[in-house]
Chain length 425, copies 2
């Protein structure tokens, strides 16, 4: 089976986001072997992950020595716990050399360095523990765990074992988010001042693809519900921009009386002040008792604009929809006078378009989810960090993941949702 | 002093919103005297109100018999409690025949039918009581009162006296809002289904026009604060669309440690189900334990997009900014397939542009606030309703005003703001 690629990695260098795809050498060593990935779970998200990595970096022979400049990802194995044949079919479709009918078999493969876990939610703790115990590095697709307690256990195990560990919160690796965090907000270059309020939303309409009540999205026992499927996106944005410890968490929400899963919520968060009072001109501006606020909402029952808006003292940053996998940002800098402003939109095109990879038989593979080509940003970052000997990704630290899980528990508690416990289901 | 008008009332008939400006006859009577307005308070909001009414309907002689088709508004008197000369100057600038140096003098004028109260917040209860006691109809600019208790007292007095009474929540009279309430949402013609979630925001940046801490916006004793100045807008939208009695109110906010006024809040509301369960196909869709949610935020410290978004089961209605005085609405009807939709934007141009009225000396008067020409919608509706013998405006019922005041008290309580009491300040 042969595959063709419409875009070479080199051609990406001209796009604004391309620098994030470069995988640097490890401190002058000139014989970096490519990071070799195993994939747990052969479902939709694993499909999109593999397609994105292969589209961006090509399909290469894991045993061949890499050049001395880059250590891009290479996918060497996949496993499905339910059937060897579905793993084999997935491997063939994605040009992955090996496939296994059980997770333990893949974890025993000495040629696997890092495992991407794209399995169903229900077994997050079990799967993560197995990966860490096998001494492999770990990228655990979101949600990181079913609840805060399980998340703490996973993080503790990973830190004890000394393996790289990360929640697969791919949004944080999109160039738009890096641009906002590293350029727009960092040094006040744009003159926007401190953050006053952020909003972020993510609703999608399950009617398009999920049948009620059979879909896993609606299954309490499979850890369905909006807190598991969509809430991590707006909550990670808030955590990334405003910190890990909100002073107040306040939520209302809707729980399905038929299945017991949460369907929708509106969450308000108040954060500590970002700037110490002594830096402000206290006599000229108000001195609020708390810092910035976040207004977040998410759910299953409709489709939203999916926008993240960062309102600053003297301007506004809009991460244009779909903001969970964004390709453009608009910065409006306030000028004197109500409503007066200067506007700049910056685009960060995806590295490869959907459906860019053709199968051997000439058919084009497509992504299941919007902008999944952006998985390549995350995969490249993991390669860089592991090559550099890091155990966490600075773009998505484990303490941020724990903070999000803690808020999610509190939100579910406030809206009257029973929080699933992996040990009990 | 002569005045000229760039737009005649007749020319408005061709704009989509123009029907709202027509003032019908009173059940066949053919000698309707124009409704004669008195204005309490000669500040910015009164300036904008008078300019809008005169721009849309012209300046006419109140004693002359009106024609048999319309009874448009006519402004006959204004009063300033602080100085007779400022009232006189306001009257001269606005071609208002009479002016008074005290509110009681205006209320004693037998030629005043209805009083528009555009005074400072502090004396809402006192001013409303005086108007009602004088037997005049009442339009009380928002906020209706400093707290729920005072609002209940005003409504009780008005109902007992049998006078027309209304909060001047002009947003509700804009053609965009009427179009949404009466056409888009009423009969499912657009196939949008029930409301799932609404969002509405209103932040403006006080740095442009208000000095800290001297501005009334920041004065606790003058009933400043965001709940009084900006919160009524998003809260009225939620109340209009989702009802008067949320099941849950949940808020976080920022209070100024210097002045004690509230600066900003994020409010989540959960409402009862809009559609009875028996009308739903219970086996095919989730059955949430509560109805739609609202995510609202507002404040003084930044400028927001000021958008109202109504997410429905199969589509989305965006009241484009500035949504507290909107001139356009975008309806996106969902088509099969994630992200597929049909989009329609409808514009409702303002009746008269800002600055359309020229003073006698050739200078052009300008509005203080955005889209203030839209005050004409409210004024025309009040004329229609009073001519028809109604004591409330169906577009803005008093029970809705009470509902908003009740939520505002609860929000301020939750964010730790002391609620001002008129009797004590």
């Amino acid at each position: 089976m042969s595959s063709s690629f419409s875009t070479s990695p080199e051609s990406l260098a001209s796009s604004p986001g391309s620098t994030l795809l470069r995988v640097p050498t490890d401190n002058g060593s000139n014989k970096i072997r490519s990071l070799r990935w195993g994939i747990l779970g052969c479902g939709r998200v694993s499909h999109d992950f593999c397609l994105a990595v292969h589209s961006a970096f090509g399909i290469r022979d894991a045993s061949a020595p890499a050049d001395d400049k880059t250590a891009p990802p290479v996918i060497v194995a996949c496993a499905s716990a339910s059937s060897a044949s579905s793993a084999s079919s997935f491997a063939s479709r994605h040009s992955i050399p090996r496939s296994y009918g059980s997770y333990s078999a893949l974890l025993a493969d000495p040629d696997v360095d890092v495992v991407y876990v794209g399995t169903v939610h229900r077994t997050r703790l079990r799967d993560a523990t197995a990966v860490i115990s096998a001494g492999k590095h770990l990228v655990l697709e979101k949600p990181f765990a079913l609840n805060y307690e399980d998340a703490v256990a996973i993080v503790a195990k990973a830190r004890e074992a000394g393996v790289f560990c990360m929640e697969g919160m791919w949004t944080r690796f999109f160039p738009v988010l890096r641009h906002v965090a590293e350029n727009v907000l960092s040094d006040g270059e744009e003159g926007l001042g401190g953050i006053v309020q952020i909003t972020s939303d993510f609703h999608f309409n399950t009617e398009d693809s999920e049948k009620y009540p059979d879909s896993p999205l609606y299954s309490f026992k499979l850890a369905g519900g909006a807190a598991m499927y969509v809430a991590p996106y707006p909550l990670h944005v808030a955590t990334m921009l405003l910190g890990r410890t909100p002073l107040a968490i306040s939520a209302v929400g809707r729980v399905d009386t038929g299945t017991g899963v949460d369907l929708q919520a509106s969450v308000s968060l108040a954060y500590p002040a970002l700037v110490p009072d002594e830096n402000k001109k206290n006599d000229e501006r108000p001195r609020p008792n708390v810092g910035p606020l976040a207004s977040l909402h998410y759910g299953f029952l409709t489709e939203s604009g999916e926008t993240t808006s960062i309102l600053c003292e003297r301007g506004r940053i809009t991460i244009n929809g779909p903001s969970h996998c964004p390709t453009s940002v608009t910065v409006e800098r306030k000028l004197p006078g109500r409503g007066e402003k200067e506007t700049k939109t910056t685009n960060f095109p995806l590295p490869v378009q959907c459906g860019a990879v053709a199968e051997g038989d000439g058919e084009t593979m497509e992504y299941f989810y919007p902008n999944s080509a952006g998985f390549a940003y995350e995969a490249a970052a993991v390669c860089r960090h592991i090559a550099a000997g890091k155990l966490e990704a600075p773009e998505c630290p484990l303490d941020d993941t724990l903070a999000v899980m803690k808020i999610l528990d509190e939100v579910r508690k406030q809206i009257g949702m029973d929080i699933p416990k992996e040990a009990e289901i």
